[in-house]
Symmetry: D3
Subunit: 340 residues, 6 copies
């Protein structure tokens, strides 16, 4: 069973019940999420041995966060427990023309303030066969950018392949900052994952056609984006998820992948969304699974796309879809019949 | 007011709130259901006098089950109260490409272990004008198969017409077992109801075209199925419900009926599903209502189809749609406007 | 900041959770609403100074009602606190072919029994720049019809423009009663708002084509309705909202406006409904906002239509959509993307 | 199985969750209650055949009310279904020094406006062996007072014994009104039940010592009250419940009974209250049960006191305590151990 | 109607439902609180004109916070809206021997980072007749300590009396820091309020006997503390609340007051706690009310003690007890009877 | 960090919310518990390495059960996943004189039907330093009794000390059956734990005085019980928990311990119960902790008694009290003050 290490922030997610707006609520559901944590849960769900690395305060809310991952089988024994706060994000679920809304309160979290020498990467990477992080981590500040650099270098020196989801967040840093830091980190990366906007935001690599903001996706143009990513950074693989938003309730979901030789296109799914947060992360996790389990590339891409389609039909950031369920969708069972 | 008797199992249904998956939940909504119980509630809802026959433990969860039917006006005075457990099923609601999931824990329930001589059918059928059961009951084991046989014979001897919903459940018995037992029971049946797969599963009677698993329904082929059912078993009526699943959220719903002379096709409804469990049962109940109230066949079929369409827009197995609401949909009010 | 006065009833709205039917529930969510109160909240939400006038009992449920408006920034200092009961309405949310259902229990409410001399209109209208009421208020009985007359006269004498939403409710009065009273009140009205059925119900002004009950809307015909309203009552503006119901879950929403010279048509929105109650009120409120803020008419109409589209994607009668959110939709962001 | 008839109002009870105050809540739990309905449920719970008589609107909230009693086995087939509203009461649960609070909204309910000739008492009393009502019913207005008179006369003429719980409600009528009407009705009554204040409020019969308002109960003084009730009205039995309130959370509960010859005192219970509403009604119901089942008087009183003690440890007005549970407490099992 | 100004932080309070521990919860109830905000709500509840001053981010959670106070009638028009975060505290409710637990996440809140020149005290204090703050505010950092100084000076210069609740929080600053800053601020204070530990923590003024930690309170010793406070700082009044904790569920509550001449002792209440947070604040608010309404001192103290007793029987930080309810308790109605 | 192995059943516990009775509920909270699982969680909570051994079905409810323990840090890697059902128990929470109620539905659970050769004890006990089980396990049937024997023998042969909580359940087996099987198993046991009734139920060893059923506990008599247990079975230690039930809401809790030489008595706690289920298990777990961490016996007993006191103030079977919290209570902090 291959062991994977992912590194990043785990946040408390506070959401009003159902479709209530922030100003209407008097309670929040409390779940946890974070791009790299979501990838870890996806991998654990499929049965891999995965260790999530972060830093969380030692108080009970920090413990609740640890338990949220331990519950789903992620190894949390390397999580540092210190510092004063856990990052928080408030999520209001949209519907129809009303988009979902995120309010971040993640500054000064324990992990954002973590120091380079707090993590023992030697120990963390023991027996590891893969390392994954996303562009959110270095966006959390110089400390985190530095930590990503250190982790990448160490993984590199140990011959551990690295994947990175670009995950550009404009509320965390500017395009210029992202460009500078991510360019440097890409040097270590083997597999790069991006959504339909990331490559442009971070590296200025934009599709000729296919303005995502207008809800239209031109697949040809995105082939070009993938090719440029692979070429510019000497990647083994670049994968791009393509979300076409008709409304906050209805999206179309597909992906493409380029391995330096051929372009692979996934099936496309019309999704009646339950909760779209974490869709990209479950794609990343499921793609890594396919790679680690040595699926053929087209199967890996279909597996990742189906897994992330299903993840968007459940509540919360975490992908709690089983291997069998993904396979069934890959094989064409899209009808949602009752299984009894 | 005609009196109807239905016989079968009543189970506790445990569902996570909203779209939560089983592994996410820390509570279950508790409702009750079972094919023949659902038929009974449908008939009581429309104002008929209906008695539901089963066996439930004498403890408080058994009482909660009895109350769940009493509440909606079903006569529960013939329900036996003994034995140690009530059957349970766990239901996870699907969405979009993710299908709903059922986990049964119904073995060794009080009714499944009931003995032939525990029920006094003479008394139960006093004044009854109809008897209904479904293929789930004999599937619960030899005791239940035997009880179905006894009940059918007694009803037959009293001149009480019998309806049966084939309701094949592959988790309860094999196709071979079903074929053997149901063939025998069909001897007593006047009206047979099936969904788009049952006749094939139980009797090997399959539509030429219209592979339900591919989400396509060929109405012509199902005419043939209905005809074969009527012919083989000397039925007065055979009705088939046709569900086309686009996703767990969106289905198309219609039905056909054959009386040995002509084929009748219902309207077809596009349903935005709230809870599809019990759809077929509400069809059966409403069809019986139409028959007992001596509706013309085409009106009876439209009534049954509209009732079961509406039942799938409410939570729970029970059909809590009023006669007036069904009629309004039959008459073409499909727009869901606010009534104020 | 222009000050607006709205006058009408504020009711306790009791709704079963989610899609539960009345007969299934053992709890009600408790919110508040009423046509003119909803208009007031819409205006406060956009930053105007708005005072809502009504009468509520002095007990704690009356206080809860007051607080429900105070919370969103509406001035409640002129609300009378006396009498014995607050009006109640029970709302069951529909889905698919099953329409929403309203049961009123509003007779003998404090405001319906209020006497003409209880309100000091001189004081209420101090500094006011607009007065709004709807056809529901005079429908509540002779007292209220009289109060509307008095308020209109006083506003008129002070040079305060008046808007009225026809809002015909067949459960409150007959078409004949409505015709008589509303004709008289229209004398004072500058801006009249109606839905696709009101003008016919109240004044017998019906579109040549476009039978709303059949779910079809003919825009041309409604131009004629608007023109006839403006002409018959010497209005400055008539606006008509057009709702095409495909089902209780899916509606199309648009509007037209006539200023005596030209017809303006809004964009049309396909809405996946969360809660449609209050849609018309939020249109009225947002239209008044546009008028008071001196938007061009076409922008005012687009603003009002977008605001009321968004209001139907949130729970409750109140419009809790911000100015920026409306603007974003007006500008074409209909895709419901996450804002992060 | 003796058949009992009870007659009165059934109201919707709306309570904020837990200990929330009215002004804090955004939902209400919805249960049903009313003095005579509560007595009916108590009797049905112990296995008697009991029919509850009232009038409720034909809408779905009326149906929910009917179902609330049908669920617990009360015969509701004689309930009239017409009129426009069901009475409502809002209940806020107190704690410690903060008392519970009730807001009534019961005027003009269907039953309060019911006419004398709407009920067919001949049919209602068919096979009945007991009739019960409380002082709340005639307090609802002249119609109801008249109906009580008619029902009592009819019961009397049929030789059916009558019990009455004085149940004085100062928010419904004055002491003078109560005195006049109740004096007249007492002529028909065989068994009178009262709490520690009723006899004084209605008939001016007060204990020499034992000012309930000061939280002190003098049992001797209440013997005198019971004796005066029996003597003045020629009763067979008078029973008085004695509640000593230490706080909204902690009460002491006992009762006395006088049969014209001897005084019987019940045990006294220290109750940690869950919900005290309906305590007196469950006492009445359980006392009637003892009388009808021909318990010795001291056993009947102990049974009634224990049943009503236990009823105050559950949520809602209805007494859902089983015969065995009451017996166990009567026999001295006051320790609340887990039964496993 | 006297106008009062209070100044401090308003935090989001996140509590697991019921008695769930932090590590068990998957949701939080969301209310708001803060010492000075709680005082403001208390005063508004009794009908005074009160303005709360703070700074909150402009996002929707900030708006939810504003609305939480606006809802209860507090003037929020002077609240600054900027900065990036609102302080949060997590509260787990204790029971029996298990104490309640608070986790603060309030660093870097908008108000803690507010600059001296952001508030226009001239405008804020317009028409004000009282200023109140607590020791928590200056504990939030140098900015806030400075702001308190500025506000006090300005109030002083305008002849506005000042009250201060010492409110020592060891998680916010050391005793030494508190001593230094509070000593300086006390120069402006007229009325000082403290609990049984504050005076010792902040000023080293400790009771001779009465070790609160041992659950014993010696009233004589606390007279001495009050006297020393008055003497050392030239106060008009010093009030001390005395809580004796038997357990997290059961406390005894009383207070003493010294005006430089005589000692006044309040009644003592045995409280079955619902939620003890905010007890001291409601005491402060109610005491100010008594002072502003010119109650005799002993009545003011009894009023304050009764109000704060009742506040501890409701959920949340805010005191939502009405004037009449407090009066009723002051007059001796401690029995928690139902008011109906 | 010593490793402990516990072996037994893990059940789904279904409880109505708050104090609702079974017949009132329409939902259940879903938690998990079982005597030996509860012991495992207690030990993990204090930081030990603990592995829980059971068998659970491979379906999602089985997974939910596994996750419920994994979440709190228990090693679940040796849990077998097969079989068809998980045991269920329904729990209704009592209050005051109304006791809590348990309905078991645990027959034929995966673990009850497990075969002797399914578990690899060699592997399970690798590195183990303690083995714990309770009398419930062998009571589940011959298979389980046999499995307990095998496990005990293996532990014995490896020199691993064994503890056993007698835990007699009269619904599972007779006193005679228990006597026979437990006598045999005690041969391997080093530490025996019992409550105030177990020793009598299982071995006929009864206290001379101290009839628990009458709510009275005579500590002297229980010394004798402990002595007889130690003597008869050659134990190292016998511990007895003593619960005095005043009501379902209020218990007294203490314990005694005998090591063959001296009797140790714990402090006694008056507990305001939140949820008493699991009290004995948390005592066992905490006592084992003390033994494994080599506390002095009196400290170990005080630690266990304090831990189990606190466990009864939280919801659910699991002990989620931290080491520091227990220590604080041991040291005398019984006052439940807020920690802030």
């Amino acid at each position: 069973m291959p062991k994977v290490v992912t590194f990043g922030e785990l946040m408390l997610r506070l959401s009003p019940p159902g479709y209530l707006r922030f100003v209407q609520t008097d309670s929040f559901s409390a779940t946890f999420g974070g791009s790299e944590a979501n990838v870890a849960v996806t991998l654990a769900q499929f049965g891999l041995d995965v260790s999530f690395i972060t830093k969380l305060p030692s108080h009970e809310i920090g413990q609740l966060a640890v338990n949220s991952m331990r519950r789903y089988g992620v190894d949390t024994s390397h999580i540092l427990r210190d510092g004063s706060r856990i990052g928080v994000f408030y999520l209001e679920k949209g519907a129809s023309q009303r988009g979902s809304k995120v309010i971040y309160d993640r500054e000064n979290s324990a992990i954002a303030l973590a120091k380079a020498d707090e993590f023992n990467w030697e120990e963390i990477f023991m027996d590891a066969e893969w390392f994954h992080f996303s562009g959110i981590s270095p966006a959390l500040g110089d400390n985190m950018a530095n930590l990503c650099r250190i982790a990448c270098k160490k993984a590199n020196s140990l011959g551990i392949p690295i994947s990175c989801d670009l995950n550009y967040r404009k509320k965390l840093w500017t395009r210029e900052q992202a460009h500078k830091v991510m360019t440097e980190l890409m040097e270590y990366v083997d597999v790069c994952i991006a959504n339909e906007e990331d490559a442009e935001d971070v590296f200025g690599i934009k599709p000729k056609h296919g303005l995502a903001s207008a809800g239209v996706i031109d697949k040809e143009s995105y082939q070009e984006v993938a090719r440029m990513l692979v070429d510019r950074f000497g990647l083994k693989l670049a994968a791009i998820t393509l979300r076409r938003s008709f409304s906050a309730t209805h999206n179309q979901w597909s992906s493409i992948l380029y391995n330096g030789k051929e372009f692979i296109h996934s099936k496309s799914y019309d999704i009646h969304l339950v909760d779209r947060v974490g869709g990209g992360d479950s794609f990343s996790g499921a793609l890594l699974y396919g790679i680690l389990e040595k699926f053929e590339l087209s199967k890996a891409l279909d597996f990742a796309t189906a897994a992330s389609c299903l993840q968007q039909t459940i509540e919360g950031d975490f992908n709690l879809i089983s291997f069998d369920e993904v396979l069934s969708l890959v094989e064409g069972n899209t009808f949602g019949r009752v299984n009894r």
